[in-house]
C-alpha cells in the first residue's frame, strides 16, 4: 500500500481540486482528508457517512470557585496567562499542561479531557473516505491528522487497496508534520507566484527534513511563465521530479462550484490533459 500526500505550503494553490481529480483517475483508492482544520474535500466527493467517532485529545483546566481559596498559586505558575485575576480559566489560552491542577492544594482544579472534534468513515463514488472535523479554536490538529491517516491506511491494508490519496493541510507546522511523516511520497502543488515559490521551498525543506520523497507540480503555470521556469529549474537543481504543470483553466473553479471533479465537469478541459499526465508520472514515481 502506498500513500501519496498532497501539500503546498501556501493555501489556495489547488490541492483539494487536484486530489479530487486524482481520486477519479486512481484505481479504487482510499481517500483521506488530512486538512482537518478546514476540510473541503467532502464538498466535491459528497461522502455517505458510515461511522462517526469522537476525537478526544489533551485536557483543559477549570476551577471550582466554591473550593478555591484564592491563594493565587495557579496564577503565579501558569505560563500561558490562562487564569484571570478572579480565578476563571480561559479555555482558549489554556495549554492543557496541568500545572494548576498539580499544584492546587485545595483540589479545586478539574482537568477533564477535551472533546476536540470528530472523525468519520465514509464511502464516496471513488472509494472509501476518511475525514474529520476539528472543533473551532481547538488544539491537537496534528493528532487528529495522525488518526485519519492511520484509519485510511488500515482500510487500505485490510481491503487490498493500492493507494491512499491524502489531502494535506497548508503551512509547515504541526498538522503538516503529522500529515507527511512516513508517507510514500508527497506531491507539492505550487503556483507561479513569488509567494507560491517561497512557500514551496519551505515545504520541500520540511519533506527533506522528515525524509519523505517529494514531487512537484505547478498549477496555473501560464499565469507567470518566467516564475514557472524558475520553479522548474529550482526543482531540477534540487533533484525534485517536476511531474507536470496545469494551465490556468476556469474549469478548475467551475467544477468545484458544481461539486464535481474536473473530469466530471468537462473531460475535455485543457487542465484534464495535464492532470492525466501528472497522474501517469505519479504512478511511475510512487507506485
Amino acid at each position: 500500500m502506498k500513500e501519496l500526500v498532497v501539500i503546498s505550503g501556501k493555501g489556495g494553490s489547488g490541492k483539494t481540486s487536484m486530489v479530487a481529480a486524482l481520486s477519479q483517475l486512481a484505481n479504487n483508492p482510499v481517500l483521506c482528508d488530512a486538512d482537518v482544520d478546514a476540510a473541503d474535500l467532502h464538498l466535491i466527493l459528497s461522502p455517505n457517512l458510515k461511522e462517526s467517532h469522537e476525537f478526544t485529545a489533551g485536557h483543559t483546566a477549570s476551577i471550582d470557585l466554591e473550593k478555591c481559596t484564592r491563594c493565587g498559586k495557579c496564577i503565579e505558575l501558569c505560563r500561558f496567562d490562562a487564569i484571570s485575576p478572579d480565578f476563571v480559566v480561559d479555555p482558549l489560552e489554556c495549554e492543557g499542561c496541568g500545572v494548576c491542577y498539580y499544584f492546587c492544594e485545595e483540589g479545586a482544579v478539574a482537568f477533564p479531557e477535551n472533546l476536540s472534534g470528530h472523525w468519520y468513515m465514509s464511502d464516496c463514488r471513488f472509494g472509501p473516505m476518511v475525514h474529520a472535523k476539528l472543533g473551532i479554536a481547538e488544539e491537537n490538529s496534528g493528532k487528529l491528522v495522525t488518526v485519519v491517516r492511520k484509519e485510511a491506511a488500515k482500510i487500505a491494508e485490510s481491503n487490498g487497496h493500492e493507494m491512499v490519496i491524502t489531502d494535506g493541510p497548508p503551512g509547515v507546522g504541526c498538522p503538516v508534520i503529522a500529515a507527511i511523516g512516513g508517507a510514500s511520497g508527497v506531491l507539492i502543488v505550487t503556483e507561479p507566484s513569488l509567494s507560491g515559490r517561497h512557500d514551496m521551498e519551505r515545504v520541500l525543506e520540511l519533506a527533506r527534513h522528515f525524509s519523505v520523497p517529494a514531487l512537484l507540480c505547478i498549477n496555473k503555470y501560464d499565469l507567470n511563465e518566467s516564475i514557472s521556469e524558475g520553479i522548474r529549474k529550482f526543482a531540477e537543481q534540487h533533484n525534485v521530479p517536476c511531474v507536470g504543470q496545469v494551465p490556468f483553466d476556469p474549469a478548475m473553479t467551475k467544477s468545484m462550484v458544481q461539486a464535481q471533479t474536473l473530469f466530471e465537469y468537462d473531460p475535455n478541459a485543457p487542465a484534464c490533459t495535464a492532470v492525466r499526465e501528472i497522474w501517469a508520472r505519479l504512478r511511475e514515481e510512487v507506485v
Binding site: 505550503g9 501556501k10 499542561c97 496541568g98 500545572v99 479554536a137 481547538e138 512557500d199 516564475i227
Partner: protein, 281 residues
C-alpha cells in the same frame, strides 16, 4: 488599533489585502503572523534589521542533583521528560514550555534550557514598520512564535496583522484581542465552507468583523447570501482580474501596481474605523 486579516481558506487573498491596506494607512505597522508561510515581505520588500532568534523554555536536568524520583514525568502532560534506568531523558521537541517539571522537582535539579522555534525580523519599507516571524523548519509549535510577534506591536500604533489560514490555535494566537477582523474569502463552495468556520472563530473571540469577497465573479452568490444572513458587512468586492493576478505573482502590492485602488483601500480603512468606533459605543 489592530486590524487582523484572516480567512478560513488559504489563498483567498489575505496577504494582498493586508499589504495594500497597511500601505494605505498613514504610519502603520504590518505584522505578518503567518509564520509557517510568511509572504508579506515578498510584496513589501522591507530593509531588514538582523534576525532575532526566538526560543522557548525546555527542561535541562542536572543529573548530579536528580534523585530519579520521576515527579517531572508525572506532571508532564506532553511526555517530554521521562526517568529511565539511571537517567532522565528529555524530548525538547515535545515540550510546551509550561515549567511544570521545574516547579515540581523536589531536588531542584531542573533548570531552564532553550529550544529555538524560529526567528523574528523587523524592517522598514515605504513608511511602514514591518515585522514578521519564520518558524524553524521541523518545528511544530507556531503559537508561541506568533505571540512573540504580537508582543512587538506597540499598543498605541495602528497595525495590520496578516493571519495564518485555518481556525485552530495559530489563528487564535494571531487574531485574539485585535480590534477588528477582515475576513477574506472567495465565492466558491470551499470559500464559503471555510468562511463559516472563520466566522465561528471570530464569534468565539467576540471581535467585530467585515468581509472582503475576492474574485467576486468566479463562483456563485452564496457567500453574499450568507453574509447578509449573518449580518456581516461586505467591505469590498473585487472581481477577478488577470492583471491583478499577474501583479500578485510578481509580488506587487495592488495599490502600487494599480494606484487607482489606493482610494478604495483608504475608504476600506475609514469604514473599518467607523465599524470599530460603532462596536465600542
Amino acid at each position: 488599533m489592530i486590524i487582523s486579516v484572516a480567512s478560513g481558506k488559504g489563498g483567498t487573498g489575505k496577504t494582498t489585502m493586508a499589504t495594500s491596506l497597511a500601505l494605505s494607512i498613514d504610519r502603520a505597522r504590518l505584522a505578518d503572523c503567518d509564520v509557517e508561510a510568511p509572504n508579506s515581505h515578498l510584496f513589501l520588500r522591507p530593509v531588514f534589521e538582523p534576525d532575532d532568534t526566538i526560543t522557548m523554555p525546555v527542561p535541562q536536568v542536572d543529573e548530579d542533583e536528580c534523585t530519579l524520583c520521576g515527579e517531572c514525568a508525572v506532571i508532564c502532560q506532553f511526555n517530554a521528560i521521562v526517568t529511565i534506568a539511571d537517567t532522565v531523558m528529555t524530548f525538547p521537541e515535545l515540550c510546551h514550555g509550561c515549567g511544570g517539571c521545574q516547579a515540581a522537582c523536589p531536588a531542584g535539579a531542573i533548570e531552564e534550557g532553550r529550544r529555538t522555534i524560529g526567528t523574528i525580523q523587523h524592517g522598514r519599507c515605504n513608511g511602514l514598520d514591518f515585522v514578521h516571524g519564520r518558524i524553524r523548519i521541523g518545528e511544530a509549535m507556531a503559537p508561541p512564535l506568533i505571540r512573540q510577534i504580537r508582543s512587538r506591536i506597540n499598543p498605541d500604533e495602528t497595525a495590520v496583522i496578516d493571519a495564518p489560514p485555518g481556525t485552530s490555535c495559530p489563528v487564535i494566537a494571531a487574531i485574539k484581542d485585535t480590534d477588528f477582523v477582515v475576513l477574506v474569502t472567495e465565492p466558491t463552495p470551499f470559500g464559503l465552507n471555510d468562511l463559516k468556520l472563520a466566522v465561528e472563530t471570530v464569534k468565539i473571540l467576540k471581535i467585530p468583523s467585515g468581509l472582503i469577497i475576492n474574485r467576486s465573479d468566479i463562483g456563485d452568490n452564496k457567500v453574499a447570501e450568507y453574509a447578509a444572513m449573518e449580518k456581516i458587512p461586505i467591505l469590498m468586492e473585487i472581481p477577478y482580474n488577470r492583471q491583478i493576478a499577474e501583479a500578485y505573482s510578481r509580488g506587487e502590492p495592488v495599490v502600487e501596481a494599480f494606484p487607482e485602488w489606493r482610494e478604495r483601500f483608504e475608504k476600506l480603512y475609514a469604514d473599518i474605523c467607523n465599524l470599530v468606533a460603532g462596536s465600542k459605543s
